[in-house]
Symmetry: C2
Subunit: 342 residues, 2 copies
Amino acid sequence: GAAPAIVQAQANIRWRLASSFPKALDTIYGAADVFSKQVAAMSGGKFQISVHAGGELMPPFGVVDGVQNGTVEMAHTAPYYFFGKDETFALGCAIPFGLNSRQMTAWYYEGNGEKLMREFYAKYNIVNFPGGNTGAQMGGWYRKPIGSMADMKGLKMRIGGFAGKVLERLGGVPQNIPGGEIYQALEKGTIDAAEWVGPYDDQKLGFNKVAPHYAYPGWWEGGPQLDFFINQKAYDGLSAEYKAIVTAAAAYAHVDMQAKYDGRNPAALRSLVSSGTKLFRFPKDVMEAAFKESMAVYSEISAKNPNWKKVYDDYSKFRAEQNLWFRFAEAGFDDFMQQQKL
Amino acid sequence: GAAPAIVQAQANIRWRLASSFPKALDTIYGAADVFSKQVAAMSGGKFQISVHAGGELMPPFGVVDGVQNGTVEMAHTAPYYFFGKDETFALGCAIPFGLNSRQMTAWYYEGNGEKLMREFYAKYNIVNFPGGNTGAQMGGWYRKPIGSMADMKGLKMRIGGFAGKVLERLGGVPQNIPGGEIYQALEKGTIDAAEWVGPYDDQKLGFNKVAPHYAYPGWWEGGPQLDFFINQKAYDGLSAEYKAIVTAAAAYAHVDMQAKYDGRNPAALRSLVSSGTKLFRFPKDVMEAAFKESMAVYSEISAKNPNWKKVYDDYSKFRAEQNLWFRFAEAGFDDFMQQQKL
């Protein structure tokens, strides 16, 4: 029952959140909105966080600097964008042949992920919270399908940062092209291929009209995690109640974003295929060469970067254990279900 | 920055939560604790929910009655326990060959799951929130391994409610035995097999010493969801802030419980195998017969129970779409990873 309350009033707080994403990516960008609305609702409107699309307050890739120097109190981003500052950022998001979505969440919530990544992010005055996952992505759009490793030679492909390192070692030529210019580059043949996200996001950009071959799986993004980055001083200034509210709102946005992708991808894939998209699975030799080169890249980084080594040693051990377990109950169940007429 | 606050104080609230689980199941029972602590933290200790193990306030299977008639404000349970009241309860938890963990969450958060199940639970004065998932379970412990359908004939197996219907149609003899008495029944040979959860929980009960053959996958529990059940009147009496706090705390507990199972199962499986447990995969003919009989059961229930039919029509369509999509990026990625030496 209710009893008369003697409470200390919570302060009014106004924060700004800089997203790395455009509003058009409604599921990714939207996770910051979901977070902000939940914080406002839980605090009776007293804790307000305004959400700003990439470029509005600062460049999409300027958000780590923005949070670090306190220009904004927080950001929502894909940490691997910042692997140029330190490769360790990628481990908090996705690396080729890394953890899948559930495994990534397990590493953060139950393994050493949160502890290790927070220790690393502290160097940038950042406290982080998992803030969504896309699930395993597709492997991109190709003007011609990839039949074997021979087709990787000279392949000019628009591909996100870290995976480009591996593509290069397979003989490909990674290209850095903003989302808005990919379609034209594919159409003109300036590039041979481009990866973006998965059916739901890719469909909006219409790549299937100019590069109809759609590969799977996106081995460089088996479960990319988005993060909320909060300025340490801003976070430390919150009451215990508001810290707990931020934690739970992030969890809510985290689970909601994966659900949105899972819920919306099937219809998008169906629609893409019915309008002529041709699916193909990456050939075994490409997958195996990519795996081998990825592991070589990780060894090289481990030898040079102690931040990376400390986190990757734990991450890779966790990955081995997870895949050992998932092959039995999870894969056994999913395999069977995927073969049934439902 | 902070500004002087003019706020309306939130009321002090004390609720009781009846769990269906014993404290020994620390991950399942623990989700209610995680929820309660998060609610207390977010409300500055003003919203307190005491958590009571199964049997403490009411029998473990009495919690729906308890919430319905307001004896307690809320419960944490596996809804399929109540399929005897109405089979529709099982759709909010797990049915044989149903949705996996991520798909179940997607159905609730993004599909029609929440809407349809809340419409159903309203008949019991219940408002529900997803409150954890175990992930795909194992297929139980057997004194002798199952080689084909012939071995299912007369198999006396301890198995949870709904799946027993299917086992019966495969020639087996389902047994209802409380968790604490399974070990002895297996040891004596009163039963031939027993299913419980997965490596982490099963290990504590020591079944491997008396029934060393451990089957996968648990086709009757591909992603069982636990739920928080809240009495409608108690929920309606909450402020908008407290409703939002309950929502986010449930999401936090939901993601945390799956992470705990994923994080802890691998070491438990490794330890079981190193102490003599023998893993076997359910034979294809058993899986196929079980699938066929399950679908027949669902058709029969649909013909008799309009509550079930309304929800199952949506659920089964969602399941078809999910499995269509998961076979490409997700399974393509996981398959490959599970075959690598990591």
